[in-house]
Symmetry: C2
Subunit: 477 residues, 2 copies
C-alpha cells in the first residue's frame, strides 16, 4: 500500500533521535528471535520515550494499516516478538519505558513500566524491603511487558502463581491508540468484567501493555535449600505432597532433575555434585523461604527429611549450608540447558500435566521415544511442583556433531513432537506450559485446543483488533 | 413473542418432575433477591439434572429468544440472580448439578459442579486432608457457580486471593447451548487466551458455569487467633505491614472493627467482649494458619504482639486459647451486620481502596458524612488487609424505628452514597470491592468505570452473547 522507503522517511522525520531506527544494522537485533528460529524484516524499530509517544506511534501504524510487533527483551522461546518477512512490520520496542513509577511498601505493591527488566523490578521491590517473586533464567534481560504478555512462569510458581496472579492493575495502549487505564493497586475490585485479564498472556495480539501495578510479598529472611535424591518422578510428586503437609506454602521451588540431566552438567560443566559418589536416579531441588519469626525452619526441614529417608521415600539429602552452596545447587539446575547444548543437538518440549499423571506420562513417553528413536536420551527436568516438565531429548550416547545419527535424530523431530504432544493431550495436559504460542505453536494450538475455546479467542481478537494489526500471525490467526 | 401460558406448558411437557417449576408458589423464592431489593416475575424455574439437560434448556431459551437468569444460592447483595418483571425470564437454577466430580489430594485439586454449596466444597477438600480456603458468611447456602460468577472474596483473600485465584479449570454452557470445556487441573497452561477468565466474575452474563476445577491447599494444623486493640485504621494498616514482615503469608485474616461496630454487637447480641472493661477505639481480628512443622507459631505471635504493645502500636491483645474462644472472636466479627440490623435502618457500601489510602479515606469520609447527616454513626468494618471496607452508616444515637429521624436518614441514602463513592473514586478506589454489580450498581459502573474499559466490556458481551439473552440487564447494558 505504501512504499517502504517513503514510509521509513516519514517515520524518521516524525520520530528522530533514536526513537525510530530504520538502518539494517539497527533493525537486525530485533529481526531474529532468541532461538534463531525466525528471521524477518522490519520496516522500522520504534522506541517510544513516553506512553503518549507510544500512543501516537500506534495511531500512525493504525492509520497506515501497518502490523505492529511489540518487543521486550527478545527472550521468547516461540518467536512471539519476531517480525514477518514482509518488510512492513513496525517493531515497537518498550525498552525506553523503563521507569518504576511508584513503590508502596505499606500496601505491598509497586507500579512499573513495561520496559523495566524483571531484575530491575525485583530490585525496586528489595529497595523497600519487599519481594517480587517472579524468577526466570533470563531475568536480567527479559522485560516486564514480555513477562505480562506471555504470563511468565519460572521457579516460584508453586508458591506465588504465574505472572497473572501477581498483577493488580494494567495500562494498555489499544490497537487504535487509545489508552486503557486499569492501573490500580486494589486487591479487591468487582466492578464489571476484569478487562485486564484479556491482555495478560495475549502475547501482544490485543494491545501493547505499557505499565502494571504488581503485588509484592514479604522478603524472606533466608532460604533453606536442599538437594534430595529420589527413585523416580512418582516419588518426587509424593514427596512434594508430604512436604506441603508439613510446611505449607513456604515451599517456593520444587525442581525435578533426572540423573540423565545432572550427568550432563557434571560432564560438560565440571560442576561439583553433592551426590557425585553415588548419584540417585533422580533428585529434587527444594527451596523454602523462611519468615523472620520461624528461625527453626531449617532444622525442622532437616528433621522431616531424615524421617523420610527412614521411610524409604527419600534416598539422600544434601542441605545447602551457605549462600555459596545454595547458588551452586541452583546452578546445577539452571545450567542444564547449557549442558545439553554442549552435548549436541536436542529436541525440546515445554509441557504440563495434572500432577497425578506425571508418572504415567514419563513411563509412556519413554516407551514411545524409544520406539521412534532407539537410544535417544531423555532429559526431562523442570518445575514438577507445577506439573511442568521441559521434556527434552538428546541423541543416543556417543553421537557426534554433524554425524548421520544426529541428522537422523533431528529428522525425527516433528514425528516425536507430534507423538509427545498427542500423549500429553490424551492425559489432559498442555503442549505449552509456560512458553506460550508465538509463531512456533500456532498450528499446535489449532490442533489441540477445544474448538469452542479457539472460536471464542478469535471472536475476542476480532472485537478488540478488527484490523488485525496487533502482532498478527501470532497466537490466533 | 410467545404466549406465557403456552410457553409454560411447553416447558413443563419437555421437562417435568421438578426439572421445571411454573407455579407461582414454586417460583416465588427465586423471584426476589436476598436483600429484598428486587422483585420480578419468572416464566419458569428450570433445574437441570445434568450438563446435557442444561445445554438443551439453554438451546430452548436461545431458540425462543428468552432471557436466562442463572441462579445459585440466592445470596447476591446486588440482585444479580433476580429476574425482571416481564414474566419472560427463565431462571436456571444450578442446585441439582451438585456433584463433587473428583478429588485429587496428590495434585491438590478438586472438580465440583456449580450447584455445590461452598460448604460442601470445603468439606470435600477436608475429606481428603486438604483445604479449600474461600470462606464467606453465607457458605452454607451460597453455591460454587455464584462464587465463581461473582469472583467472591471473603475473609481469607489476604492469603489466598479472590475466587479467580483459586480456579484452575472451568466448564461453561455458552448462550447458544454449546459447551466450553476448559476443565483441566493444570497449574501452568499458556495455550492462547485464557478464555476461562472471561466468565469468572461475569455474573452469568456471558454463559452459565457448570463446573470448575479448584486449587486446594495444605490443611492448617491449627489457628492462632487474636483480638488486637489499636488506635485507628492507620495503626491497623501499619500493624499488618509489620506482622507480614515477621510471619509472611501464614496470616490468613486481618479484619478491622471500630468500637462503633463492637459496641452494637455487645449491646444487641449480648456478646461477651474480651476488651469490654476498656474497649479500644478499634481492633483487629487476626488469624494465622499454623503449618504442622511450626508449633512455635502461637508463642512467636504472642511475643511479637507484646513487643508491639511496648512500641505503642498495639494497645491491647487477647489471644484465643481454645476453639470455643476462636469461634467467639469470629462471631463478634461476623455478627456485626446482624447487630446493625437490630439497631435499625442502615446505609451500606462495599468499597475498596489502595491500602495506603485507607486512613485518608476514613477521615475525609467522616467529615462528609457528618456534613450530610449530622450525628450519623459510622460502622466501617471489614477486610482491611485487602483494602476492603463495609462502610456502613446507622442513624444518630437514639433514633427509633419508623421515626422522622430515621426517614430523614434514609432519604439521604442516594446523596450520601454518591458522596462516598465519589470520594472513593478520587482516591483510586472501587465502589464494589466484592459484591459485584448485579442490577443494583449498573449505573454506578457507567459513572465510575473508565469509558474505554466499559466499551471493551460491551464488545465482549456482544461477541459472546449477540442476542443478549444471558442475564441481560445485569453488569453491562
Amino acid at each position: 500500500m505504501n512504499n517502504q522507503s517513503e514510509l521509513r522517511q516519514r517515520l524518521t522525520s516524525q520520530w528522530g533521535d533514536g526513537a525510530c531506527l530504520t538502518e539494517a544494522i539497527d533493525r537486525a537485533p530485533f529481526e531474529t528471535d532468541f532461538r534463531k528460529l525466525f528471521h524477518g524484516e522490519a520496516l522500522a524499530i520504534l522506541q517510544p520515550n513516553s506512553v503518549t509517544e507510544l500512543q501516537s506511534m500506534v495511531r500512525f501504524a493504525s492509520d497506515h494499516r501497518l502490523v505492529m510487533v511489540p518487543a521486550g527483551g527478545n527472550t521468547s522461546y516461540c518467536g512471539g516478538a519476531a517480525p514477518d518477512k514482509s518488510g512492513n512490520n513496525l517493531i515497537i520496542s518498550l525498552k525506553r519505558l523503563n521507569k518504576i513509577r511508584s513503590k508502596d511498601p505499606l500496601g505491598y505493591t509497586l507500579t512499573a513500566e513495561a520496559g523495566c527488566t524483571l531484575a530491575s523490578v525485583q530490585e525496586a521491590a528489595e529497595s523497600v524491603e519487599r519481594y517480587f517473586p517472579l524468577a526466570l533464567g533470563s531475568q536480567g534481560s527479559c522485560q516486564l511487558g514480555g513477562n505480562l504478555s506471555t504470563n511468565a512462569g519460572g521457579t516460584s510458581v508453586l508458591r506465588y502463581g504465574m505472572m497473572r496472579d501477581l498483577v493488580l492493575g494494567l495500562e494498555v495502549v489499544l490497537p487504535d491508540g487509545r489508552l486503557l487505564n486499569q492501573l490500580n493497586g486494589l486487591r479487591k475490585d468487582n466492578t464489571g468484567f476484569d478487562v485486564k485479564q484479556w491482555f495478560i498472556g495475549a502475547e501482544g495480539t490485543l494491545g501493547i501493555i505499557s505499565a502494571a501495578t504488581l503485588k509484592l510479598f514479604t522478603k524472606p529472611t533466608q532460604y533453606s535449600t536442599a538437594m534430595i535424591g529420589v527413585a523416580h518422578i512418582g516419588a518426587a510428586v509424593d514427596l512434594l505432597s508430604r512436604l506441603r503437609e508439613y510446611f505449607g506454602d513456604v515451599i517456593e521451588s520444587f525442581e525435578f532433575l533426572p540423573e540423565s540431566a545432572t550427568e550432563l552438567a557434571r560432564q560438560h560443566l565440571k560442576l561439583r555434585d553433592p551426590f557425585e559418589t553415588s548419584p540417585p536416579p533422580a533428585r529434587v531441588l527444594l527451596e523454602c523461604a523462611q519468615p523472620r519469626a520461624w528461625p527453626e525452619l531449617p532444622e525442622r526441614l532437616a528433621h522431616v527429611l531424615m524421617k523420610l529417608i527412614e521411610s524409604g521415600l527419600v534416598l539422600d539429602v544434601a542441605m545447602a549450608n551457605s549462600d555459596r552452596e545454595r547458588d551452586h545447587f541452583w546452578s546445577i539446575r539452571e545450567r542444564i540447558p547449557e549442558a545439553q547444548t554442549l552435548e549436541g543437538a536436542s529436541i525440546k518440549h515445554d509441557i504440563s500435566l495434572p500432577i497425578g499423571q506425571l508418572a504415567t506420562f514419563v513411563s509412556e513417553a519413554a516407551r514411545v521415544v524409544q520406539a521412534t528413536i532407539p537410544g535417544a536420551r531423555i532429559i526431562n527436568y523442570g518445575h514438577v511442583g507445577d506439573g511442568n516438565l521441559h521434556y527434552n531429548l538428546s541423541p543416543p550416547c556417543g553421537t557426534t556433531k554433524g554425524s548421520d545419527t544426529e541428522r537422523q535424530f533431528l529428522a525425527n523431530q516433528s514425528a516425536i513432537t507430534r507423538t509427545i504432544h498427542d500423549l500429553v493431550a490424551s492425559l489432559g495436559g498442555s503442549f505449552s506450559a509456560e512458553h506460550g504460542i508465538g509463531q512456533l505453536k500456532v498450528k499446535e494450538l489449532e490442533r489441540y485446543e477445544d474448538p469452542v475455546a479457539l472460536e471464542l479467542m478469535k471472536k475476542l481478537k476480532v472485537a478488540i483488533d478488527p484490523l488485525n494489526l496487533m502482532n498478527s500471525g501470532k497466537v490466533v490467526k
